[in-house]
């Protein structure tokens, strides 16, 4: 469904991605694991159109979306739950959800907002509250709900469990599994290797801007994945 072929993305002179290739199959959960600074967020941002790759191509459902603007990519069916959530703190929960539907022009937006409140009852109780007053877990739910408002076929999630209490992390992963069961494909960046390997159909290891492993959970011992996801592997360090 999503094919990333040999992309190079740089910040000025620093090459953060040095030829990354990977693919996300329809209906699956694909995880991208790797140590801090490996380029996971850069990969997400490049797919979402927020960074332009210097080289390589990105194809979504057989259409080339390389270098297209973010609005176009959202409309083609890819939505992002950004790192650190980035909800609009001084906007109400309700308005935050409306921003998620910004790229849509149909008249079912309010119905979808109601559906989000059914799915996330904790947001329902806080509809008119400013998003900045929510707890970390609630803000993460809001960030997910906001992305879903775009009716994505593929959901990009950048470290959704970051900084959350273990119970909330469980809930986030339950939501990820539910969404996937309903047919949404998911491309997930995670630091929580244990949880990620439990939900993933496929996973990739990214180290210093290069993919160093791609396969299914079970192809590698969890200990080795943890080792390489936190510290990087011996050859590359």
């Amino acid at each position: 469904m999503l094919e990333i072929a040999d992309i190079v993305t740089s910040y000025g002179k620093i090459e953060a991605l040095k030829g990354v290739s990977l693919s996300v199959a329809p209906g699956e959960i694909t995880c991208l694991l790797g140590p801090n600074g490996a380029g996971k967020t850069t990969t997400m941002m490049t797919v979402a159109g927020l960074l332009k790759p210097r080289r390589g191509s990105i194809t979504f459902e057989d259409r080339n979306i390389t270098g297209r603007d973010p609005g176009h990519i959202v409309r083609s069916g890819i939505a992002l739950v950004p790192e650190n959530r980035l909800v609009f703190p001084d906007m109400s929960v309700h308005d935050n959800l409306r921003t998620g539907a910004y790229s849509r022009s149909d008249n079912e937006i309010e119905d979808d907002i109601d559906r989000m409140f059914e799915r996330f009852p904790r947001l329902d109780e806080r509809q008119l509250q400013h998003a900045g007053t929510l707890s970390g877990g609630e803000q993460q739910m809001l960030a997910v709900a906001r992305a879903l408002m775009a009716r994505p076929k593929l959901l990009l999630m950048d470290e959704p469990s970051l900084g959350l209490a273990p119970m909330i992390v469980e809930e986030i992963f339950r939501i990820i599994r539910d969404l996937n069961a309903e047919g949404t494909s998911i491309f997930l960046v995670e630091q929580n290797v244990h949880q990620a390997l439990k939900v993933a159909h496929h996973f990739y290891l990214l180290e210093q801007g290069r993919v160093t492993f791609g396969g299914s959970p079970g192809d590698l011992e969890e200990d080795e994945v943890i080792q390489r996801a936190y510290l990087g592997s011996a050859e590359t360090t």
Partner: protein, 286 residues
């Protein structure tokens, strides 16, 4: 007068709120619009509504020019460069108008011959009552636009977090451009009504408009629309009182004294909200 300042401050607030940058050329853009209005009046004896439309159009076009040159062309993170270049464009606009209108002082058409009217025991100029009404209508319309439309949603999203707005697929560059034009157009309306009561116009009006709008915005609390209204009205009242009791030269002095007093006593402004601290921090970075 106060409602004119309130409108000036709202335009300022819109730009500062969305961009977190100060546009010093805001007043001069309005001045360009006002001169265009005067030109229509002198050349074609245009009626009041043509002059008003001309003023607003002129201000909006000048505002669009300023945005492309000082804000769009200069990348984010370079707030100082934007402010300095908006100052340079200020000089440019002022010189341009001086060359096009070499007599410097021109007549601006009054709204009409109005008499003083009695209102709750006070005698007030009818123009001021009309201006207050127009300001109220505009504020209401702006509120509807910001809180009831898709464009308003985008403006609010960009002003809170331009990156997150981009993630939602908002074309932030276009939203900023349109907000800039909107702010200049509101400034144009303010400029028209201020001029229609003053009845003479010089290129120095740009300086006046920038300062009065800026002071009113700071009095009210940076980036807050209700604050801009309150600050504008307060500034108008204080200036009028100073003029009445101490003479015309005291008008501007009183305005600055008021600002200093506020900066010491209540630096967040009249309607200091929880975001005021963030706004001030943004201003310091500017």
């Amino acid at each position: 007068m106060g409602s004119g300042y309130a409108l000036l401050a709202i335009g300022f607030t819109l730009i500062f709120g969305v961009l977190r940058r100060l546009n010093l050329s805001y007043g001069p853009s309005i001045m360009v619009g006002v001169f265009f209005g005067t030109f229509l009046f002198i050349q074609f004896q245009a009626g009041w509504y043509t002059v008003l439309v001309g003023t607003v159009l002129g201000a909006a076009i000048a505002g669009a020019y300023v945005e492309r040159l000082c804000f769009w062309a200069i990348k984010k993170g370079a707030a100082v460069a934007s402010m300095v270049s908006s100052f340079a464009v200020w000089m440019q606009l002022e010189e341009g108008v001086t060359i096009a209108f070499p007599d410097r002082t021109y007549e601006f058409p009054a709204l009409g011959d109005f008499e003083l009217i009695e209102l709750a025991g006070l005698s007030v100029r009818q123009e001021h009552v009309i201006m207050l009404g127009i300001a109220a209508i505009l504020v209401f319309a702006l509120h509807q636009l910001l809180y009831r439309t898709r464009f308003g949603l985008a403006v609010r999203a960009v002003s809170e977090d331009p990156n997150a707005a981009l993630f939602m697929g908002v074309n932030t560059g276009r939203v900023i451009f349109l907000a800039f034009i909107l702010a200049s157009a509101i400034g144009g309306i303010a400029g028209y009504f201020i001029m229609a009561t003053e009845e003479v116009i010089t290129p120095k009006f740009g300086l006046q408009a920038t300062f009065k709008g800026l002071i009113a915005m700071m009095l009210g609390g940076m980036g807050s629309v209700p604050g801009a209204i309150a600050g504008g009205l307060l500034l108008g009242v204080v200036e009028k009182q100073a003029e009445w009791y101490a003479g015309a030269v005291w008008r501007d002095i009183a305005a600055f004294m008021l600002l200093f007093a506020f900066l010491i006593v209540r630096p967040g402004g009249l309607l200091a909200q929880h975001t005021a601290a963030r706004d001030l921090a943004a201003l310091r970075r500017v």
